[in-house]
């Protein structure tokens, strides 16, 4: 069972209670959503810091708009769409700021951290590099489909609903994404690439 299916099963009873005004259910719902939303945001942005901001924003939006969720789709489908919108808004905001600013403020920050934090920082940085190196050339839709299906074990039919996309289009994006990423993986091994060329 994928993480998405697990979350869906866990939060479905909480959603109705939270909509009815149960504060504890609301807290449990938001707390339960946070890790997966952060994971999605990380994939959408390839930036751990942006993922933190987006995850927080998504929880606020879920809280504000929970009444609008009508259970016509799975909760995780709705949640993913909220996350995508938040990521999109964040990107637009950043582009707007970058047009105004001449340099990136964040790059100048040197946080005063202890060893554990520095290791965490290093890991986050490496992951960002890894994600960027494999994902960067992928169009956004291909990246999303590949991440959800191959990395998060989501079924293509679920992804079809989450992205509001025809199943055959999901399949086409997935195959193109796999081809791009796997070629890149094999390019790191010249001996394999050489054999592949024979």
């Amino acid at each position: 069972m994928s993480e998405i299916q697990r979350l869906n099963e866990a939060v479905t009873p909480l959603v109705q209670k939270a909509q009815a005004g149960d504060q504890q259910a609301l807290n449990d719902l938001l707390r339960g959503c946070h890790p997966l939303v952060h994971r999605w945001a990380l994939s959408l942005t390839a930036d751990p810091d942006d993922a933190d901001d987006i995850a927080q924003e998504v929880l606020v939006r879920v809280h504000r708009n929970l009444a609008k969720y009508g259970a016509r789709s799975r909760f995780t489908t709705w949640l993913y769409q909220v996350t995508r919108n938040a990521a999109l808004d964040q990107r637009r905001g950043r582009e707007r700021r970058e047009r105004l600013a001449t340099h990136e403020y964040r790059d100048e920050l040197q946080p005063d951290t202890d060893q554990a934090d520095r290791l965490d920082e290093l890991h986050r940085s490496r992951v960002a590099d890894l994600v960027k190196s494999l994902f960067d050339e992928l169009p956004e839709r291909q990246r999303e489909v590949f991440d959800l299906v191959d990395l998060q074990d989501c079924r293509p039919v679920e992804v079809s609903a989450m992205l509001d996309m025809n199943p055959s289009t999901v399949r086409a994006h997935l195959l193109r994404a796999r081809r791009t990423i796997r070629k890149r993986i094999l390019e790191r091994h010249p001996e394999m690439a050489e054999e592949y060329g024979r």
């Binding site: 994971r39 927080q56 606020v60 191959d150 195959l175």
Partner: protein, 152 residues
Amino acid sequence: MNCTEARDLLLEAELAELRGEGASEVARHVRECARCRAMAQEIVEQEGALAQALAGVRPRVAADTAAAEAVAAKVLPLRPRWKRRWAAVIPAALAATLAGILLTNNGTPPAVVPSTTEAAAVAAAPVVDATSSEIYVVFNTDNPDIVVVWLY
């Protein structure tokens, strides 16, 4: 199926097929060919590493804190812009009205009602004290006991 065909299919194959599972041609080839199996394993390992790396990045903010902050943010939701603008304007209008009343009632009432000529002069050359508000203008006259507050 030869290796060239198989290696092209590896680029699009399901992960189970890359592991040699199932009855598809590519899965069977992976089981039988060591070189293609090595390539398939490399793909599985790298994609697994990517998935693990992504899953290994934890949010800086704990879920409990994030949820609490989201709930706190709901307490003071941002209202639509037109509501925020009116929220600022209404107290200003009330303050201006009150100021006008206080100023007009300040001191004794004028002993002499301004003549028509004086009123016309005031109307012709008012001194505008406050122009910043969108909803009122205060006109001072030569007579300190008469202040005109124009709300619009």
